[in-house]
Amino acid sequence: MVERVLLLCLLLIGFWGVVAKKNIIKKIFGLNILNAAAVMLFILEGNRIGTEAPILESGLAQVVDPIPQALMLTAIVIGVCVTALALALAVHLYQITGSFDIDTIRERVKDEA
């Protein structure tokens, strides 16, 4: 129970970072925290029905649910890819406008376009 409440807090901190922070790099950090919280929740809860890793070395042990782990593997890789692209976009925006602040970027882009 406590750990799940903490995960909710983590998720909301990440969401706060995305919504309220002005610096676009911090926004990207926030997105990663958000993603990590969702992944951790999935893995944590999936591990409640067993004690062993899902590798069948010693017969039919009480293994955890392998599906969340396989799904989260995909979700993590996708998260990393999106982050890489977001960082590249941020670098490009910095090159165009000379700022990492979202409001300044908006203004300068509007001036140019």
Binding site: I49, I55, C81
Partner: protein, 254 residues
């Protein structure tokens, strides 16, 4: 005015966080016991059907390999997009003619009279250590990649280790004579070809009557061969893409 605006921002953000937090409460507080149907099925039949002891590998390269294809596509597109954007950034820097960006430095670590055009952080210490570790890391990466069906690991994990090996080799290049593995043309080639191979393997099941993404070796003595093959292809592809991207972000791409 500025202060008022800042308060408005915080108020709006709090509203958003509050709404989302309230919505998410049932998701995080749910006490329902976790379902065991799929786990029980996999423990009983998973090893027999896919040949892999590692059930996670069995799922993401067997039962749900189509997701994995999507995942590699996302990686591929992200790499292409990142490279496109970064190369544009570089061309802009060059167009401005801003020579200060490349630091022609004489750092404390360089030998007397040595000409270095590389970055200030590239020291002899770093070059020697990473140059020696690089091959070992590569070897470990191939181990993780090839034994993914038996132990924790697999194509993605192994691929990322291979990528760090490539980055080490690129960092350890003394005097900037880049080794073949850190050349973007070669890494790009490995990436494109392994993507093509992945698709061919995915289609191959059709010709063995197993359907799209079916295991063509399902009836043979070694059904696990399919997973090993996919692990190797994915490992090469991920290693090449991420290594490529890291080298580009370090500013070493041509």
């Amino acid at each position: 005015m500025g202060k008022r605006k800042a308060w408005g921002t915080i108020l709006q953000a709090s509203l958003a966080i509050g709404a989302m937090g309230a919505v998410l409460l049932p998701i995080f507080l749910c006490q329902t016991p976790w379902p065991t149907v799929a786990r029980d099925y996999l423990v009983e039949h998973g090893q027999h059907e896919s040949g892999a002891i590692n059930l996670v590998s069995a799922i993401y390269l067997g039962y749900r390999a189509f997701d994995t294809l999507g995942e590699t596509i996302v990686l591929l597109v992200a790499v292409i997009g990142t490279m496109g954007l970064l190369s544009r950034v570089e061309s802009m820097v060059n167009a401005v003619g801003d020579d200060d960006n490349t630091i022609q430095t004489v750092s404390a670590f360089s030998l007397r009279g040595e000409k270095r055009s590389s970055h200030v952080l590239r020291t002899h210490l770093l070059e020697v250590v990473t140059g020696k570790i690089g091959p070992i890391v590569l070897l470990f990466g191939f181990y993780v990649m090839l034994y993914g069906h038996l132990s924790p690991g697999g194509g993605f994990q192994g691929g990322v280790i291979i990528a760090s090996g490539i980055v080490f080799l690129a960092l350890g290049n003394q005097q900037d004579n880049t080794s073949a593995l850190s050349k973007s043309s070669i890494l790009g080639g490995i990436e494109s070809v392994s993507f093509l191979l992945f698709i061919i393997v995915a289609i191959s099941g059709i010709f063995f009557g197993k359907g799209f993404f079916g295991n063509p070796l399902a009836d043979s003595a070694y059904p696990v061969g399919f997973i090993v093959l996919l692990n190797s292809i994915i490992g090469l592809k991920v290693g090449a893409s991420i290594g490529f991207m890291c080298i580009a972000m370090m500013g070493g791409h041509d």
